[in-house]
């Protein structure tokens, strides 16, 4: 057997050690594809119906003058913004316009989009934020070097595959950190938190809020109410276990052996939240695919070999 034929059988040295232009291209398709699906089904323009008094732009959006918001919060403006962003996302996903400027504008548009929906929020929830951070990070990486519909003439990167490996690892690190932060805060709030009925109370509360109310009584939501049959100790153990999984998320980068367990644990964690509390995290569940290094690169290579993919020569 030749040396080159034996190469693919070698165990990868670390997560994304074999990342290529196609791998980062697939990550681009995944990240911006999630946004595309998310925005396609989001009737954003309805926000124009809500009173201006309920609108409090957060963080960076607070610097935008009020007059601009008066125009931006019209139904027609929101609809135009939505379709403009959808078009930009489609171009980025397909790599039809492989431009970092377009990518930057798209990421800025996503920050505005997420700021808009949070402007009508009582609290800052975390759904989509990991996805947003990775989208912003990708603006600075050569994500259009692989898996693009339109060819892009490019020189060979001076660092070889390093920018692709770095891009993939940075995305995984950011994703892992968002879990780690939650676990760390909970841990430093005091471990006695895990001895309380916090998780069971949360599930009860969600079951009631989403239940059927007739003015005098509530019928709690079926599945969460059924879960409440479990003994109280189960919830305490589940709360501690989920915190442990969150804290271990960055280890998925370092340890090849622990990675499948951590990724599966996080997936199970999201599924449990969905079932017990009816709180979906579809973006994060899809992003967990970034932790599947070898499979991810195989999929990227397969897609790159697909008849629709474009072959490009490096000058």
């Amino acid at each position: 057997m030749s040396r080159q034929a034996a190469l693919p059988r070698l165990a990868p040295a670390h997560l994304h050690a074999r990342a290529t232009a196609s791998s980062l291209g697939l990550a681009r398709v995944l990240v911006f594809g999630i946004w595309l699906c998310h925005l396609a089904v989001d009737p954003l323009q309805r926000l124009a119906e809500l009173p201006r008094s309920a609108f409090q732009p957060p963080g960076v959006l607070a610097v935008v003058p009020g007059r601009v918001w008066e125009i931006a919060l019209r139904s027609s403006s929101l609809l135009a913004f939505r379709f403009g962003l959808l078009l930009a996302l489609a171009l980025v996903v397909g790599g039809l316009v492989p431009s970092q400027v377009l990518l930057g504008m798209t990421a800025a548009g996503l920050v505005v989009y997420q700021g808009l929906v949070r402007s009508f929020s009582g609290h800052m929830n975390h759904a989509e934020l990991a996805l947003l951070y990775i989208s912003m990070l990708f603006v600075f990486f050569p994500v259009f070097d692989g898996l693009t519909v339109r060819p892009r003439r490019t020189r060979a990167r001076p660092g070889g595959r390093a920018p692709y490996v770095a891009g993939m690892l940075a995305a995984c690190l950011v994703l892992g950190l968002t879990y780690f932060f939650v676990g760390a805060v909970r841990l430093w709030k005091g471990v006695d938190l895990f001895g309380t009925s916090t998780l069971r109370d949360l599930i009860s509360s969600f079951a009631l809020q989403d239940g059927r109310f007739d003015g005098a009584s509530v019928v709690p939501l079926g599945v969460p109410a059924a879960i409440l049959v479990l003994p109280p100790l189960t919830f305490k153990v589940a709360f501690a276990a989920s915190t442990l999984v969150e804290l271990s998320a960055p280890l998925a980068l370092f340890s090849r052996r622990l990675r499948p367990f951590i990724a599966a644990g996080l997936l199970f964690f999201h599924l449990s939240i969905l079932v017990a509390m009816q709180v979906p995290f579809p973006e994060n569940m899809c992003l967990l695919a970034l932790f599947s290094g070898t499979w991810f690169h195989r999929a990227a290579t397969w897609l790159d070999d697909h008849p629709f993919a474009v072959r490009r020569a490096v000058r």
């Binding site: 309805r46 609290h123 920018p163 290579t301």
Partner: protein, 245 residues
């Protein structure tokens, strides 16, 4: 010969290049103590973050959990810096990539420390379910009265899917509390009226039997034992809006 080093890129290449890449990657495995200079930079940045948090949070920063959190993040940052694959890949990338990674991680940590509210969006504090809740709960429920006299439950989140439950329910809760505290003639009360009327109008779109009134109920429930079946609750109507005005 032609060897495909990067899928999508066809490069004329010598046979040993891929083997060298593999060997270099293998050498990049594991952890190695960062140089003193790198460790110093990390410690400096860490200190800067702590000082920024102290300045932003005021007296609140003295809670022991915050310093513990800071120490935890420093340990993780040191581990990431010591992890050869990441360090090596980032170091061999271009300057924009290095700056982006450093900036993103710094902003994430800053958001985690001085965030917690809305002011640092998009870099906010990640802290879900970190406080024990009370043994009872109170929330607001919305019942509409249709033209034919039917009573229907209104789910605000279903009317505005852009604002998922975590977002919209929280805003409605805050608005209700402010309106009740201020009374019906107050600014908060009028703002709440506008918000409820928006819900009512959206609910009525394309309906044969539209709502003529929307009532807000404050619902108290004891969570011990957790309610599993139909439960009688302490509920009272606290606010109403009518379609006409």
């Amino acid at each position: 010969m032609v060897h495909r080093l990067q899928a999508g890129h066809v490069l004329p290449q010598r046979p040993g290049v891929a083997v060298l890449e593999e060997r270099r990657t293998a050498a990049d495995q594991g952890f190695a103590r960062p140089a003193v200079r790198e460790g110093g930079i990390l410690a400096g940045i860490g200190l800067l973050v702590l000082l920024a948090a102290a300045a932003a949070l005021g007296p609140r920063w003295r809670r022991p959990g915050l310093v513990g959190e800071w120490a935890t993040y420093m340990v993780l940052a040191y581990a990431v810096l010591s992890w050869r694959p990441f360090r090596s890949a980032v170091a061999r990338s271009g300057r924009p990539q290095r700056a982006a990674v450093a900036g993103c991680l710094l902003l994430l940590v800053m958001g985690q420390f001085v965030g917690g509210g809305r002011h640092t969006f998009p870099f906010v504090r990640f802290a879900m379910f970190t406080d024990p809740g009370p043994p009872d709960t109170h929330h607001y429920s919305y019942l509409g009265l249709t033209r034919t006299g039917r009573s229907v439950q209104v789910d605000p989140v279903a009317l505005y899917p852009s604002l998922d439950r975590g977002r919209f329910v929280g805003r409605l809760f805050d608005s209700a509390e402010a309106a009740i505290a201020g009374g019906s003639g107050s600014g908060a009360g009028e703002a709440y009226d506008d918000l409820l009327l928006a819900l009512l109008r959206r609910r009525n779109l394309g309906r044969d039997d539209p709502l003529v009134r929307l009532d807000v109920y404050l619902v108290h429930t004891d969570l011990d034992p957790p309610p599993r079946h139909r439960t009688t609750v302490a509920a009272g109507r606290v606010w109403s809006v009518e379609a006409g005005g």
